[in-house]
Symmetry: C2
């Protein structure tokens, strides 16, 4: 499958690698290719610059957002929450009819949308003909793409979206990543629930001193 | 121990029963005793009126908020989120130096305080000389008081509060209820994390069709 990953940060990179491993043809989209490649310093989090990472993953082509999305069958969006709508809206025609997997959260430690709205819903309203699926946003990038690293994969991931067919496709993709426990929360408004987990995630992270954890829903 | 439980709803009742089982001297506080006892219809959730419940639990005295709190060693607050501050502020002098366990959440499905503040913090600011501990608010009342009902108690409860001694006391109380996995999230500002779980809890409830679930943090 031809898959475009929008975003050159650690989340985008992790998915790009995993999707290639799984046999997909993957491109990464960015605003300005030359500018992205010109960065030579680590980012604020200490992650290596994209150009350095790209040397080891040169089969993944870096393109503008539009070029990456144009020919893609499926699009991942792993952008900063504050940039998402500005990036996606101009791509509307290229995204029509396609599945867009939205991984973005608000800007830690504070969400700029919560309670009565969510980023997932904002994206779905901005792109009414795109099948927006919110998932992955409750766990760190390493576990997102390799759930088996934790407790043999016996922990949960959540899905929100309006289109049942798109959710079935994303469910299969999650399974190909190794996800065993996939909970469909309902339509895209349920993204409010998972987006509002981020402040909790940060406090657990701070208490446990590791980002390598996830939630398991224990039922009677 | 003399314990006052503020609130006559299902959460207050569940804790009152459990605290009596554990050998405590328990009173329930309400705004207007005569009015609370005069209700003869079930509430909006279909719960029996307090007077009917009280017939089976007459050893638990019903008092005004002030009378209940005055002589208590420890106070539980299980009020509607919107009523909490109005009820507690006039009780300030009676609550000085005491532990107040705050179980309240915003009004489902929407929180009226989130992100940059929390009910727990609002209460702590309103009662600076009270040791406010936020806990229990991530799970339903039945599991709050009997965690063993679910997966032999192998799931998690969270604590937020500024006073280390008070947290140690509440930790013991949680253990006496049967809680085995107690995660200290830090100071009272971490209540933002657990209060913002409520919108997620509601979506899981809706997806699983049962309120009998809880979270377990799975770590590497």
């Amino acid at each position: 499958m031809k898959i475009a990953v929008l975003g050159t940060g650690m989340v985008g990179r992790a998915h790009a690698i995993r999707l290639v491993e799984l046999g997909n043809d993957v491109t990464i989209g960015t605003k300005n290719v030359a500018k992205t490649l010109s960065v030579t310093n680590p980012d604020q989090m200490g992650n290596p610059p994209f150009s350095l990472w790209h040397k080891d993953h040169s089969q993944i082509k870096l393109m503008t957002f539009a070029d990456a999305v144009k020919d893609a069958d499926l699009v991942f969006e792993a952008l900063h929450g504050s940039a998402v709508l500005n990036v996606l809206k101009p791509l509307e025609s290229f995204l029509t009819g396609k599945i867009l997997i939205d991984i973005s959260n608000g800007m830690p430690p504070t969400l700029f949308v919560a309670n009565t709205d969510s980023l997932g819903e904002q994206i779905q309203r901005a792109l009414p003909k795109t099948k927006v699926i919110k998932t992955f946003n409750t766990v760190n990038a390493i576990i997102q793409v390799n759930p088996q690293l934790l407790a043999n994969g016996d922990h949960d991931i959540f899905l929100s979206g309006n289109d049942a067919g798109a959710k079935a496709d994303v469910n299969k993709l999650l399974q190909s990543y190794g996800w065993k426990n996939i909970i469909d929360l309902g339509d895209i408004t349920t993204a409010r629930g998972t987006e509002m987990m981020m402040p909790f995630w940060l406090r657990i992270f701070s208490s446990l001193k590791t980002p390598m954890f996830n939630y398991k829903i224990v039922m009677k």
